[in-house]
């Protein structure tokens, strides 16, 4: 079975002013279709950098990153944008467009993918129903709670039938009760829809809900846990 994501000796060095910072120092990782992987690690361990590379938001300095067998470093800007359309991103701070309603936010990623207005409206409504937010789809982010905003973000991430979802601390900014609900939703998406999920978290308890977890420290994967 081909891995959806395969990282081989992946390295990323940032320049912080004139000081080089090695965020990733040789990561090897394989994620297969239907997987639910948690990437655990303290702040600064490089887990978000890894997620950004997998999501084609950034390019690696060294090493190989294959997404569905394609080497990301060979892709140009437009091809990277095309790749991002096939990836669903969920951020810690939701990153919704404040002037758009919940439905319009979900529709936005579909309109970027050239989907017709009527089609995307219907899909957006279905997706918001899946995340349990159909009743509040005409509300703007400012009128929604943190948990509700994250549900909208998840619906948006699911919009273009993504190959996999990338989640950066998806429950990091909401209360624990809502966090549990969100985790339940994420697990359901993985189990029922078979969507591959890579989730970054620093919370050990959340990691136990994934199918497997890897521990990162100082830019490398230090151990793997199978739940």
């Amino acid at each position: 079975m081909t891995a959806i994501v395969e990282a081989v000796n992946l390295k990323k060095t940032y320049m912080l002013g004139k000081v080089p910072v090695e965020a990733l120092r040789g990561v090897n990782l394989k994620v297969e279709s239907g997987d639910f992987l948690a990437v655990l690690g303290p702040s600064g361990s490089g887990k978000s950098t890894l997620l950004n590379l997998i999501g084609a938001l950034d390019k690696p300095t060294e090493g190989k990153l294959l997404i569905e067998g394609v080497d990301v470093s060979t892709l140009n800007d437009n091809q990277l944008a095309g790749l991002r359309r096939r990836v669903g991103f969920v951020f810690q701070f939701f990153n919704l467009i404040p002037r758009f309603t919940a439905r319009e936010n979900v529709e936005l990623s579909m309109s970027i993918a050239d989907i017709d207005r009527a089609e995307r409206r219907k899909q957006a409504e279905d997706l918001l129903e899946t995340v349990g937010l159909k009743e509040r789809m005409n509300h703007k982010p400012a009128e929604l709670s943190g948990g509700e905003q994250q549900r909208v973000a998840i619906a948006r991430a699911l919009a273009n039938n993504p190959r996999f979802l990338l989640m950066d601390e998806p429950t990091g900014n909401i209360d624990s009760k809502t966090a549990n609900e969100i985790m339940g939703l994420i697990k359901r998406i993985n189990e029922e829809k078979g969507v591959t999920i890579i989730m970054v978290t620093h919370d050990q308890r959340l990691a136990t809900q994934a199918k497997r977890a890897v521990q990162m420290f100082d830019g490398v994967i230090t151990r793997e846990i199978v739940n």
């Binding site: 938001l57 950034d58 437009n78 944008a81 991002r84 359309r85 991103f89 990623s109 970027i112 993918a113």
Partner: protein, 425 residues
Amino acid sequence: MKSRDVFSYSFSAIRLRKLRAGLTTLGVVIGIAAIVALLSITQGLQATITAQLQKGFATNTLIVSTGRSSGVSIIGAGDSGFKLFVNDTQTINEIENVSMSLAIIQRVGYVQFGGKNRTVTIVGVDFAKYASIYSSTFVAESGDIPQSPENDTVVVGKRISDPWKNATLFCNVNDDVEILWTNATARPPKNETYAGHVSAVLQEVGGFGIGPSDSSIYIPISKAESFFGTDECDMIIVKLKNDDTATIDSTSKAIRNAFDKQVTVMSSTAVLNILSSVFSVVQLFLGGIAAISLLVAGIGIMNIMIVSLMERTREIGILKALGMKSQTVLTVFLGESAIIGLMGAVIGIASGWVLANVVAIVFHGGGVFFGNQAAGTGGISITPVLTPTVFLGALVFGVGVSVIFALYPAWRASKLKPVEALRYE
């Protein structure tokens, strides 16, 4: 992303900051309105003046002068002491293609009637020939212009008879008026005077022109010679057999040669050409000044777009994370400025047109507006002209300037790295 969706995304960003977008648009509106108003007024003015000239200066006529006459003068003709005389028309009449010619002697003087005085230009002409050359303007509104006038026959312009533009007339047909002229060359200066009989009042000619004028009085050329004590004329008007350029050029040359190149020969086409080039320069100058205000508006757009870019860096990061291409981000930003430019241009053209018409009304009705109804000459009637070229030009210029000034901020937005944009606070 479909262009309709790009447009609606750009529009939603503008709608979010209505006041800011409104003020930015206002800059474009002012620039475009200034351009449209100035150009349509100057074009209207040019059309008016050209029409007046064509009316008062038939295309098949030439004006021969020494270059220092009170009629048309040309820079560079010089004062050589050369004089034109009434009987020089005989020389001109012998030239090929000349149908007839007539001499004009004119002086500034006064007309007295009923104890009142008016300053006028006293023009001595052959009535029959003058009427033949200016058949549309040397026409009596009341009374008759006699073909063989009596010595004391006077034909008066409309503004002499009716200077206040109301029922109160200064003089009318069959009135006996006193005509006065001060001979300043006599030592001591001497007032000449005679009694004239008004045989006709001309119909209104309009603001200005080379031919008949509303503020002149016309007396027979023979009377002018004896009254002014000279047979030196100010100009000779030549009527040609036809008005093609070749005839005009060859005859002009022949006339100049006949007087040893001491005279200036003006044709209506030459006058119109000069006028047209003068107006081109004026339009370029005024349009240029107005364009500067549009450039200022362009800098305003650039400023706003850069501020907007900073405020929306995170949003751009989100769009790119969702898979928006860099070119689409560029288009979104350029779309915003194009919408501002288009709205500004459309409103600007409309307000410029309104402004031009208001100016035209004030210009024309100046007497009425400022309570100066006694103004003898009246206003010039300008109908602002908005040509399709000006309309489209203003539209393209407004949108173009907006888009050009947004290029840099839009390019910067499109070049943002998604991961850095998302991290931007």
